[in-house]
Symmetry: C2
Subunit: 336 residues, 2 copies
DNA sequence: TTAATTTACGAAACCGTTTTCGGAAACAAC
DNA sequence: GTTGTTTCCGAAAACGGTTTCGTAAATTAA
């Protein structure tokens, strides 16, 4: 299948490869007449340029990397849609990498990018990621990085986030206003900035209403649904159990509902629930779930947008391009 | 910043680039001693090979493409996880492309692959895709293709699917066994093989129990949630409304529940619902939802596995590598 | 008419790596 | 001591485009 290259086009038309290349790129150096001939033959022979040859020479790959912890929850699904939409529009290709919440994998993936595989990186860091020297390295190598959602505080670059502190605060205030006296908070990956910020918001709200948060009301969950089920069950079985619950990440939602169902804890009568989630089914849960809904698609789109701004003009200052897009509290029956 | 290349390693060690390259690839032609030196300096200078140079020369990109209609529903999210898992293990990179259900986009994307961008392709075709000449073209260009879930009948290559016919059949039988006399079927993208097969299963089951399907009980939905809401509402408002409903794709689930809620149609008392979905929240909907659950992760993993078999040894016969992985009927209260 | 400029194209270097081939040196066999 | 063999390495040709630079011919300016 000797794929048709510029060379065969050149031979067939008795032109040089340089001329073919220029004609294909619509260079002003080439006459309209030859362009016609070249384009015609290219189409006829179904010529498709080799992207690797081009990338090697131009030192630009026209591809970006998206590195995510996983794509299991709906937040990242929506974010990918947002990212891919603008990438496709810009003629970029998108490589996707999953860290599975592993810092070691994240490091390995990022390291590879120093070889010039991608022109830019969008990343939501793993739950194990503390400091960001691996990210600084790749930035130092000349590859722009934009964070979205899960950021690294110590890396100076654009960060597209939602208002985590306010969301945690609003969720807590809402529960309090609905009459909750003892509000528990479920988190995962406490090292993450989103976790700590949401938690800070929770604490602030509690402080304002004169409740001091008890240690055992702040529960750290894992990525294992079984573990989480037991953890949450234990929390809700305690004699002084909470009457309000904040699930700070989507994956805890189902588990919480199941525990309540199994323990015959009626929502919202005996316990009120609010969850950070983008699940489209929140409205049809039993009962319908009050949520903090993140602008996932928009965050993806904005992150990609900011990245492409630097790619388009190298003087764009990424460090000053951070954006905070507010989440929204959608009140439903689980906190009635 | 001048990224360290093989050339600078060569200069620093007074060796040729050939030697460096071989040493890095652990060639037997190079003494253990020099390998040590090369590896040492490479690590010290943080050498990362340029993938484009390598791909150009080797004519292999070590990357595969995943082309999907969208990543909005949980099936494709899970499938991506399965695919990425095996790709990462094999040292491959994965490019992701969304067609947004557009045939034109799918064609454009596939065409680009003729340039050698990827070593293989995993695809779930768009809802507009009828015949697969664009896919045959890329196969003819030497790029192996594996379908998963949404296939093209007329393209002879590996297809990883689930038992759509049986699933449609089983869903229908189940509703009938639960007492439904008038079972409606909601579909999207009727051109798709999965749609027609599920529908055939539905028809077969109805035929077996002596019901002839009425035309208006087979409803074609779109990708617009608003439209679907109105369509489904109209169906369920008709005087001779169905007492059983099969939602043949995930995205219809939420809409169906909302319509029932708005029309005060009690599930399962007045209407029983079954949906094709992988949503983790199915168990905690109101009421819990009976589902046909597809083995999404496994399908992704198997599809990638089959693809890598051809990539590993070129003589592997893709045409005989199709796999059907059964879906499972999970009975819950929406059909009680 | 001559000089200056523009137009249209080709030769060749280059991007960074891989791979073939050849050869010097060291070692073994006879 | 003369032949094979290994062992270890380098020169150079790829891979398929892009880009710089040079130049002959055509055009314009003077």
């Amino acid at each position: 299948m000797g794929n048709t290259t510029i060379k065969v086009l050149a031979k067939q038309l008795n032109l040089s490869v340089a001329t073919i290349s220029k004609a294909l790129r619509d260079s002003h150096e080439i006459s309209a007449e030859t362009k016609q001939k070249v384009l015609g033959l290219a189409k006829h022979l179904n010529y498709v340029p080799n992207p690797y040859a081009s990338s090697l020479r131009k030192r630009r790959s026209k591809t970006i990397a998206v590195v995510l912890p996983e794509v299991a929850d709906s937040f990242f699904s929506l974010a990918i849609n947002g990212i891919e939409a603008v990438a496709q529009e810009k003629g970029y290709h998108v490589l996707i990498y999953l860290t599975h919440e592993s810092f070691a994998k994240e490091e390995a993936i990022l390291r590879d990018f120093q070889g010039g595989r991608v022109d830019g990186i969008l990343i939501s860091v793993s739950g194990e990621t503390g400091e960001g020297s691996h990210i600084k390295d790749v930035i130092a190598a000349g590859v722009p990085v934009v964070f979205f959602d899960r950021i690294c505080e110590d890396v100076e670059t654009a960060k597209i986030t939602t208002d985590d502190f306010e969301s945690g605060y609003n969720a807590t205030r809402h529960l309090a206003e609905q009459g909750c006296k003892k509000i528990a908070y479920l988190s995962v990956s406490p090292a993450l900035s989103i976790s700590s910020k949401r938690l800070e918001g929770y604490k602030k709200a509690l402080a304002e209403i004169g409740i001091r948060p008890e240690k055992k009301d702040i529960v750290s969950c894992t990525n294992d649904a079984g573990d989480n089920y037991r953890t949450i069950k234990k929390l809700l079985q305690s004699k002084n159990r909470p009457d309000g619950l904040i699930a700070s990440v989507e994956k805890l939602t189902t588990t919480v509902y199941m525990v309540c169902s199994d323990l015959r804890l009626e929502i919202p009568g005996m316990i009120k629930i609010i969850s950070f989630t983008n699940l489209p089914t929140a409205a049809v849960l039993n009962p319908s779930l009050t949520t903090i809904t993140q602008p996932a698609f928009e965050m993806g789109r904005e992150a990609a947008g900011v990245l492409f701004k630097t790619l388009d003009r190298k003087n764009f200052n990424l460090k000053k391009a951070s954006i905070v897009i507010p989440s929204s509290l959608v009140v439903r029956k689980s906190t009635a």
